[in-house]
């Protein structure tokens, strides 16, 4: 049960992050932080299908995460999802066409190993 939830969290988080990144790349840089501009931006984003799908995936990940937290400690729950770093970096390169340099590969790998070690 624990590991089924870990897989569900990793998969849903990956889908959510990739959709969010794709939507925000299309939207362009946010540089107006006045209250009116933030309100207009929020109204625009809630109608964006990719953002809505990303929030649905995040909700799946959230409910799986709180179910996991009711069965296991935070020190197991968080590191168990470390593998998603590598998976998301692969998708960032091939799906989002990001230029993932050797530095970013090395950084994501170090972080994934580090997060996995935090459980010990």
């Amino acid at each position: 049960m624990k590991w089924a939830l870990v897989f569900l969290i990793a998969a849903a988080t990956t889908v959510s992050d990739v959709l969010q990144a794709a939507a925000m790349k299309r939207h362009g840089e946010i540089d107006d932080f006045r209250p009116g501009a933030i309100g207009r931006l929020a109204a625009l984003l809630v109608r964006n299908k990719m953002i809505v799908a990303s929030v649905v995936a995040m909700a799946v990940s959230f409910f799986a995460f709180i179910a996991l937290l009711s069965l296991a400690d935070l020190s197991f729950a968080v590191p168990a999802t470390a593998g998603s770093y590598i998976f998301e970096t692969v998708l960032a390169k091939y799906l989002l066409k990001e230029p993932v340099t050797w530095g970013r590969w090395a950084g994501a790998s170090l972080v994934a190993c580090g997060v996995a070690l935090l459980a010990r």
Binding site: A21, A67, S70, K97, T101, G103, A106, L110, V115
Partner: protein, 132 residues
């Protein structure tokens, strides 16, 4: 690191760490949730700590989306992970949790990974114009 990138990275990290801590604390009060019954989840969501956790994660969502509007996912993901190392250090400082040698190694690896990625530009595509 650019000031705007630094500012939103800090907000993403703080809301994520405090949101997860709050959720964890609340779920320990709620008890086991290995159920598909919607009422169990409604009861969990009505716990004040879980509510606070959800509010912090909504803030996380907005700051994360803002950061992703100019920074690559392959940049944001490792850089914001420094929160995991901070959680472990906060556990030692405030909750007096023991940090094993393996955990210290984990913290060191995360910090090295973050340092490696943070040196690069947040969005390579715009500045270099080509994929590597």
């Amino acid at each position: 690191m650019h000031l705007k990138t630094f500012f939103f990275t800090v907000i993403v990290i703080l809301t994520s760490v405090s949101g997860n801590f709050s959720l964890s604390w609340g779920m320990h009060q709620v008890g086991s949730l290995a159920s598909v019954a919607p009422t169990a989840y409604v009861r969990a969501v009505l716990n004040p700590w879980v509510m606070l956790g959800i509010s912090l994660l909504v803030l996380w969502l907005f700051s994360h989306m803002t950061l992703l509007s100019w920074a690559d996912l392959s940049y944001v993901l490792p850089v914001t992970s420094v929160g995991y190392a901070l959680s472990a250090l906060a556990g030692k400082l405030f909750l007096h949790e023991a940090i094993s040698p393996a955990r210290w190694t984990g913290i060191l690896l995360i910090v090295s990974g973050v340092a490696l990625v943070a040196r690069s530009a947040p969005r390579k595509a715009v500045e270099q114009g080509a994929a590597s």
